[in-house]
Structures are given as structure tokens and as C-alpha cells.
Symmetry: D2
């Protein structure tokens, strides 16, 4: 089969012909119908320290995907050839304290598809049953492929309730826009979105016409938030930039008693005036990673079914797998929403 | 001033000329601009056992209202003549354990406007500061008057989160329809509404075209719910009928782990098979009365501001105060949504 | 091996020689070192309608047990021969919505050890890996055997926090006494225990000298509770009697905003004045069954490790398996705490 | 009356004869029977930047106190001359969003006794009714005086449940020791306490013999925590040091999914590796200040009544008010537990 393989510890990747992977007793073999590019894939393609410290080469990468089951391992129950599935990225051990108390997504022995095991930028991919989400027949494979990143937004946003609350999203990449849409679907009083990238600000304005979309540095975000909240600040801030400025701003604009979800991964340490940012404000800060298995997936599915959340406009580009260089350079430039590869 | 007074322990009421009430040090005097009819007012008008056990006559009744402050007591801070306000019905003592732990609405020494103190079916009404909610200038007085019953729906619905959940509302009176609207605004996956009254079923269908509106007895509600929830049942049921059949149905259609809010007040004891209805199902049951002061009011306000919740279509009739007999007989017939009296 | 088998649809059971069960790929074979008698076993022994509607005979019964792993199925990971384990009774399907959202104990396709599959009143028992709890080496097998019923108390009690709250336990059987102990260990302000059985009242007084132990019918429970709570009522009531009187009393003595966990299984419908019992009181009612897998087990283990909870005094009798008739008649009489059988 | 007055913007204070304060309509006049020294008082006595930016001199300071009501303002209800009361430090406006949604302790218009209004290191002090907590007759005034700082520990600790959880307290000052005691009373699995001050480590060991008390720098705290938690880390960390090292350690020793309460006020910005400290760990961080009014007070009271929490051994010294210099220098040295002044 064709597969995009990271073979060398340098920038780039190679489209190779390799064997279709062997199915273990608890695995599904999936014919990949759509795969989406994640920031993690950009780390791997660029080969930065994040990737270098995690991957053992060669490795097929890509982990946001959907497709059709073409083979099921001997011990599989509940899935059959012909089923359409999407993939959860985190492979849980199912034995540790985290896995046994509803937190498989923070498994003590976590492996990640496309990082620790061969992934989905390929014609076929292995999906352990513990990572399989069954899709309704006829689901658009591209929608299936983006349920995983929608879940990242969903997990960060719904640490607690949203109904009637003011929400700020710091970062207008795909996860930020999904977050803004989910907040509106769940009855947020108002959504404020910030970024510094003109393409992403423009995309946010088009997808979320009801939201207030501001340039994080050039606009007076604090004043705009105070004006829209009787001077109180937002109840919820979702930090997706991973930057010092974005993190500080998330607290600056926060109401007393408000909450911040930290989702974007900072490459560097972050410095905060804890007394004013968090303590006197009695802020609540949630680290957020991955998706609750499977509460988050059910919630994403339910909000799509509600008719109040349509993530498809966030997909801005679709490429054949052979155009992977173009697709990955586009996502690295940040001048794109969600980008789909078709094997 | 003109006031609708319950003078005799029999059906009916009298529109009398009485003195404008005296303002105490922590009271506001409000010129009533709109008042809405509540089921409680029907009890009082009809003089049933509920009313007989609570009222000392004569009493001006009516308690859902909005208007303009025309006089403020000597110790009042934060309110001024000319402010527009809506009235919370429950007068808390502010000293008891309930009041001092965020539960003024279940005060140990509760008094109720229009039941224990003169109410708002009058040209002027006393509003204690502890019951005053300031409205934005220019608010439609009818909207101000219905914030209190919207709050009843809001308190019952938002005992926990709604986003992505399946909701059933047992009873399509005004509170039920508000509840269905609030659930949709807060991202419910789907809303099912039931009643047995044709007028109310029709009103629900008009106001909530996305909901499934069913006759509680003639339609197969359980099957419809199971069909719409992959066989699981609804996650949330709001019981507003106060009836044996409605309460039993709320549990019959409930998913394992789901929740029921009991809001409608049964006149008679209710009998349940606890083992199947609640225990094996691990259902959670919430008694719900009144509104959290003031969390519920802020939430109602915020959901109106979100643009996703418009309660005004639930108001079906408006009468001058002098037509009180016609208005109260209409609400007693249940062939109405919310009915407004204009003093 | 020796096993206690229910062979006939009549009162009683037979101690037979049967084959040691075969181990499936995800099963452990456990040499049973201690088994405890549950109320369910009394239903089966007596052959009442509960048992008749559930069991297909013949069936080895008994499900509260601990022992040593003597064989592990081919697909087992994380358990080895020689490990000491306790058994969770509920066998989850691991595929349904309940199982995939942290609620395996209310699995849509639940099977129960000793009811739907052969149980633990035997020298050897099959324990599916999905039901295995590893015990520390050297744990007293009797302690391991009672972790399951301790978990029933734990699940009912800890639906929400206990610290600083007044707790009433309606029923002084073993689960009630465990509940009282757990409440004290978790910082309850005070614990009130009620029952009508003199043996159980006496046992409660001995095990819980700090608690107030009252006869549910002969003592003025309401007055005692009001006296001890500044007239407010208890914050938490745990209903274990399954009776009309006990359920009504749980609400009568409840503070506004308090919570009731319904754990005892009523054989008959229960009738309540919902308006006063639940709605005006804004009570919260939790159905409670089984144990959260595995949060409850970890909590029981942690509270034992804390040194503040010692359940062993609740074990009042120990019999060899051959004396099963004596043991089951004793538990049926209710003149016992927890009773252990040694195969 | 005698009062300790901060008159000059320099280190020190003066014991002066001043007028007994005038009682406003909603005030109580309290004859102070005991007052405790808080870190805030050390800031004021030392006149550091924290104090300089907040106080307008002259000011009577001291705010942790208890005493007898000797006069009640004209509008006071529920308190009478002869009542014994303790003082809450935070004076809420009762009008803002925070005050009206159960968060008076983070009032938008907060004033603080002993900082913005004359305090309690005096023979008499004004206590607004909104800050009065009634004590049972016969309460030890010293116990009444320390309920406020116990409440600081209580608010930080009980952001969520404690039962069965592993707890670390970073800082063995009085609030830390109260926190360790409260955690044990509420069923913590185990408590680890750290500090660098020998006096405080010794005091912690004496008051909390069941806890593990470690030197934060010289002992291997991480290893000790991992050894005691099957390698997982603590579930709850309470940060009281306000230091970079203490804050970093709170996260280093934290389990995945664990929580940190930030209570100690850092004078300088804190730098954290957010990705590892909070995000991948899915930690929850709570800013914590003051006490919930009045949930925290009720909880402190209830835990004292439970018999499982005795804070009196944390009081190590008592001085007459005239020895204020000695007392404040002692608390500045940190070689003391809680120190009481007797006017």
C-alpha cells in the first residue's frame, strides 16, 4: 500500500509502498477514506525537538482519520467488516489507575497512533478496538476524520458548563473555531475570538459571524471584553496559542471566579503573577489534553446531531495523499483551516 | 389605586380602590407596568385547599411583574427612582442557614409576594430590595414580568448540564415551553415535549418546530424516545404535570444514569416502583422550586442576550387589569400560553 | 470440587461435587479463600420471586469473595498465578454507552456472578478480568470478600461530599454499618443510625459508639435529628430498608437541599408526598446500585489505608462451607452482621 | 479604649487611647475577647509594599477576632447584646454580581477589616452584620478568633472532595497545619506536609503525628510521595508557601488529574512548564482566597463539632495586647504557631 513514512531525522517525509499491516487479535484494519493534518504532524514533518524526543523511525504518521473496516481481529466484538469508524489517537493500557477511573486519555502507559505506532497517512491503518468509534453509515469521511480535533476543543471547553456564560477563545486555528462553534451551540452568552494571523481571523469571522473576532495585539481585547460583560470579564477562556502573551491575556480578561482551560502546548515556560491572575480572582485553571473516552466523542456526536454545530466549513482544503508536501507546507504556514488528505 | 383583591374565601376576586402601600426602609415602590398570571393565581382565584391553607384575607395577589421604581426606602442602595425592575417572588429572611449558604429560595422563614404580602395585580406594588432585579432601560415590561416563570423552567432544567443531552419536557404549559426553548438554546441534542391538552400541544409545535411534540397518552412516547436515542432513553426529564401518569412516564423514558427534575406540584401522593424507576437505573431526582437568587436570573438574562432564546411567543394574550375575570378563566381553562395583565 | 448449587426451584441448596470450571481467554480461575453471604444469596436460597425471575438452574451462587489466582486465561494481562484478588459482581459488556462513559456498573447488557454465571460458594470460581480487583499480598481473605458490600455503602454515601455533613443511615445491616463508619471516616458532623431489629441496633451501637443509634419506630427519630441539627434536619440520608416507612422517614428528617440515596430495594411500590418530601425541600435523590468500576474500589481501599475505617468488626460469624444451611438461616434471621463462608 | 494603631508609614505600631467607635445602623459593637495575628498584620507592622499600597493611616489593624456584642445598630436583626460572635474579614457590598451569586468573598467592591476600616487589636471593634458569625455561648474566644484562618485552609482544601485522596500541604504555618488536620478529619488517605522552617516542621510533627512531615529542600519529597501512592503522586496539593520552589513542587508531586489549590500569595511572578505541569497532567488549579460566606464557616463549625478536628494545639503563644511588639516580632520570625493577643 501507499503510506507516508517518516524515514529520516530531517525535515520531510516519503510516500512509499509498504506492506499492509498485520491485524492483531484486538485490532481492526481500516481502509483510510480521509485523514486530517494535525499540528503534531507538522512537528513530525519539520522534525523539531518535540518529534525527535518521541519518534523511533521509520514511522507512518497521521492519526486523525476515518474509514471502513476491512478486517477484524479474532477477539473483536461489536465491529464488523463494512463498518465505518473514526480513530481515537490515544491507545490506553486499560490496566492503570487512570484507565480504571474514567481517564483513559491520561493513561500512565499511553501510546499514540502515528507517534508510537504506525498511523493513518496511508491506504490502510491499524485501529485497536480500544480506539475505535463507530460512525453512522454514510457519514462523510472528512467529518469522521475531524471528530478527533473537534474533541480536543470539546474537552477543553466543557470542563464545566457553558450555558449563559461569556467565552473567549485565544487562538483561531481549527480547534479554536470548533471551540467557538461549540460554545455558541451550547448557549454561550457571547464568544470573543482572538488571534494574530490574518487568515485565521478572517476564517473565524466567516464561520462565526455572531462572535467578536479581534486581533490579539492590535485590538483592545480587554476593553472589548469588559464592555460586553458589564465590566466583569469573561467567564471562560480557552487558551490555544501556547504563548506567553496569550496565556497572560486569558487571565487578564477573566472574571472573578472564571475558568481558563489550557489546551495549546507552550514550548517555553510561562510566567504569571499568580496573586492577581489566579488567587485573588479565585480562577480555576484546567489542563486539557486529548478527549475523554468516550464521553467527549458522544458529546461531539450529539452536538452535531442537535443541528446547532456544523464543523465542515472549517475544512478549507483537500489534497490527494500524493500532494502531502504541499498540504503540510500549507498547514505549517497557518494559512489554512483544517486540511484533509485523501489516500 | 386600583388593585385586584381577594376578599372572600370563595371563588373570584374584586377590583377595588385601595391606598398605595407605604414604603419601608428597605422597600421599593414599583408602578406596575405588566403582570403575568401564574398557576398560583389560579389557586387563589378558585380558592382551592392550597390557597385556603396559605392566605389570610384580604390580600392583593399576583407576583410575576415588572415596572418602574417610583419611591425608594431610606436604607436602599443601588436602586433609584426611574429604574426598571422585575420582581422575585420569594422574600428571604437573609439570616437562616439556607439564606447564608446560597439558597435564599428555600429560606426557612420564606414569605411569598401575593400570598403572604400584598402583590402585583395593582397599579403599585411593594418590592423588597432583597427581591429586586434591575432590568435594562427599555426592556419590554411583559418580558420583565415573565422572567420569574422563565426562571422556574431554568432552575429545573439546569440542575446540571444540558449540552448534548436528550431532554423530555412533561407538560407544555408556559414553563414547559420555556424549558424546551432553554434546552435547545443550551445545546440539547433533541427535545421531546408531551401534554394532553390540544391547545398546549399546538402552541408547543408552533414555538418549538424542531422539537418532537407528542400526546402523552395517545402517542407512543416511550417508543419515540427510544427511537431517537439509540434505545437508551432521555438523559433529562422535566416533570411539570404534577400527575401520577406524568411522573411515572418521566422515569419510564429515562436513560440509565439520567436525571429527572420534579417541578410540577402534585396535589396527591405519587406512587413509584423505586427499584426499577430509580435504583437500578441510578437515576438522579431533583426537587425544584423557585429560582436560585440570583444565579437563575443572571442565567435567564444571559440566555436572552445570547440571541438563542426568545420567550415572547409564549405570551398569547394580554388584557387590561379590569378584564381579570376573563383572563383568569382563560388561564384556568389552560387554553392559553402566558397571559399578561396591564394595570 | 465442592460447590453450593441451587438445583431446584424451592427453598434450599445442595453442596455437590462438580468439575472445576474451564478458564476462557479473559478469565481468571480463583481458589476461593473466603466468601460472604449477601441478601441476594438469601433470595436465591429462599427462592422468592426476585430469584425465580432471574436464575436459570442449576447455578452455583455466591458472589462476594476473595482468593488466589491459580490459572490465567490466554489473553490475560496484569494478573498472574499467585495474585490475590477480590471479585466485582457485575460483569460489564464494555461496548455499550454506559460502559464507555464510566458507568460499567449500569451496563445495558449486565450479567451478574452467582446469578447469571456460576458463583463463588465453591472451592474455585471463574473471575472475568473485567471484574478482578487485585489485593495487596497478605490481605485477610475475609476483608477481601467484604470489599464488594462495603462498596455498595460507599457508592450510596459518596454520591457527593460528606465532610461536615449530618448523615442518617436508615437500616443497620452490614451495609448500613459500613456506611456509618465510612461517613465518620470522611468527616461527617454526626451520624444517626436507625433500624427496628434489636440485634442490628445492638451491633450498630457496639461498632459505632459515637453515632446516635435509634429504633426507627419506637424512638422519636425526627425530634432527635432536629435537636442535633439546629432544627434543620440531616444533610444526607441513606435508605437501606427498602420499606415504605424507611423511605418516608428518610425524607421527613431531611434538611432543605439535602440528599437521599436510595440503596435498599423495595419489593413493593413506594408512595410519597412529592411536593413536601422532594419539591419544596429541593431534595436530591440518588438511585444507587453496585459500585463504580473502579472508582468505588479505589475509594474503599484508600479509606481502609487511611486508618480511619476498619470494617472487620462487622463480620460477626464465620462458617465452613459445609455449614451453609446454618449460615444462610442465620443471615435470613437478620441476627447477624456479615457472615463468612470458608470453602 | 486601648487600640493598636498604625500611625506612621514605617515599621511598628502604637498602643493608643482612642474613642470607642460609633455604631452604624447595620453594625455590631464587639468587646474583643481574643484576637489572632495574621500574616497581613505582619505586612502592616513591617510596612512593606503590600501594606503601603492598601492602607490609609491612621488605622487600627487586626481582623481575626471574637468577642461579645455590647451594642447593636438600629437595623440589626438576629443578633443581640450578649451574643458571642467571631468576625469575617471581608466586608461585601451585597449588590454586585459576585455578592449576588454566592461569592461575597470575591466582591467587586471588597473592603477588609483592619485594612480599609478600623480593626480588632483593640478593646472594642465594629463588626458589620454582613461579617458576623454567631458563636455558641461559652466558646473559647481564642477558638472564635482562629475560625477565620481555619476558614482559609478550609476554602483551599475543600475546592472538591477529600475522602480517600492523598494530600500534600506545602507550608507548615498555622494554615498549613489546620489544612492537614482538616484533610485527616475528612478522610484523606494520607497527608504529606513540607516546609523549610525547623520550628514549623516540629510543630507539624507534634500536631499531626500520622502525617509524613518533610523538609521541602533536604528531603526527597517526590520520592516519598511516589512511594506512598503506588507511583501516582498526590491527588491534592495545597500551596501555602507563595514561593517559586513550593509552587513548582506542588505540580511535580501531583498525580495525573490531580488538583492544586494556590493559597499562599507570591510576591513575585511564578514560572511554570505548563505543558508538563498542568496540560498533559490535566491538572486542575484553584485560586483560593478568603472564605465562602458562609459555607466555609458552617463547614469549619461542623468539623469542630464532629470531634475529629481540634485546632487549639496550633495556638502556641498568648500575649496581652500591650506586648504587641513581642508578639508581632515572634510571628515575623515564623517561630510560632498561631499567636493570640488579649485586649
Amino acid at each position: 500500500m501507499k503510506a507516508l513514512v517518516k524515514t529520516q531525522p530531517t525535515r520531510g517525509a516519503e510516500l512509499l509502498d509498504i506492506d499492509i499491516p498485520q491485524v492483531g487479535p484486538t485490532d481492526l484494519l481500516v481502509k483510510v477514506q480521509a485523514a486530517a493534518i494535525c499540528g503534531t504532524d507538522n512537528h513530525i514533518y519539520s522534525w523539531d525537538p518535540w518529534a525527535e524526543s518521541r519518534l523511533t523511525l521509520p514511522m507512518v504518521f497521521g492519526h486523525e482519520f476515518a474509514g471502513e473496516v476491512v478486517e477484524a481481529g479474532a477477539s473483536i466484538a461489536g465491529y464488523a467488516v463494512g463498518d465505518m469508524v473514526a480513530g481515537e489517537t490515544h491507545i490506553p493500557c486499560l490496566q492503570c489507575y487512570q484507565c480504571r477511573t474514567g481517564r483513559q486519555h491520561t493513561c500512565e502507559n499511553m501510546r499514540i497512533i502515528g507517534v508510537h505506532t504506525d498511523g493513518a497517512f496511508a491506504e490502510y491503518a491499524i485501529l485497536p478496538q480500544s480506539c475505535a468509534w463507530k460512525l453512522a453509515p454514510g457519514t462523510d469521511p472528512a467529518l469522521g476524520a475531524i471528530m478527533e480535533p473537534i474533541g480536543v476543543a470539546c474537552n477543553g471547553l466543557f470542563k464545566d458548563r457553558i450555558d449563559g456564560l461569556s467565552v473567549a477563545i485565544i487562538g483561531c486555528g481549527p480547534i479554536g473555531i470548533f471551540g467557538g462553534q461549540l460554545a455558541q451551540a451550547a448557549g454561550a452568552r457571547h464568544v470573543t475570538m482572538t488571534d494574530v494571523n490574518p487568515y485565521r481571523l478572517d476564517l473565524a469571522r466567516r464561520v462565526l459571524p455572531e462572535a467578536t473576532v479581534l486581533h490579539a495585539a492590535n485590538d483592545d481585547v480587554l476593553q472589548a471584553v469588559l464592555d460586553g460583560t458589564e465590566g466583569r470579564g469573561v467567564d471562560v477562556a480557552i487558551e490555544l496559542s501556547g504563548s506567553q502573551a496569550g496565556t497572560a491575556q486569558a487571565f487578564d480578561i477573566l472574571a472573578k471566579g472564571g475558568r481558563v482551560s489550557l489546551v495549546g502546548l507552550p514550548s517555553n515556560p510561562i510566567t504569571l503573577e499568580m496573586t492577581s491572575a489566579i488567587i485573588y480572582r479565585e480562577a480555576v485553571v484546567y489542563g486539557s489534553t486529548g478527549r475523554l473516552m468516550w464521553d467527549t466523542w458522544y458529546k461531539v456526536d450529539a452536538l452535531i446531531r442537535s443541528g446547532r454545530f456544523d464543523p465542515m466549513p472549517v475544512i478549507t482544503h483537500t489534497f490527494p495523499l500524493a500532494s502531502f508536501d504541499e498540504a503540510l507546507q500549507l498547514t505549517l504556514s497557518a494559512n489554512a483551516g483544517k486540511v484533509i488528505l485523501l489516500p
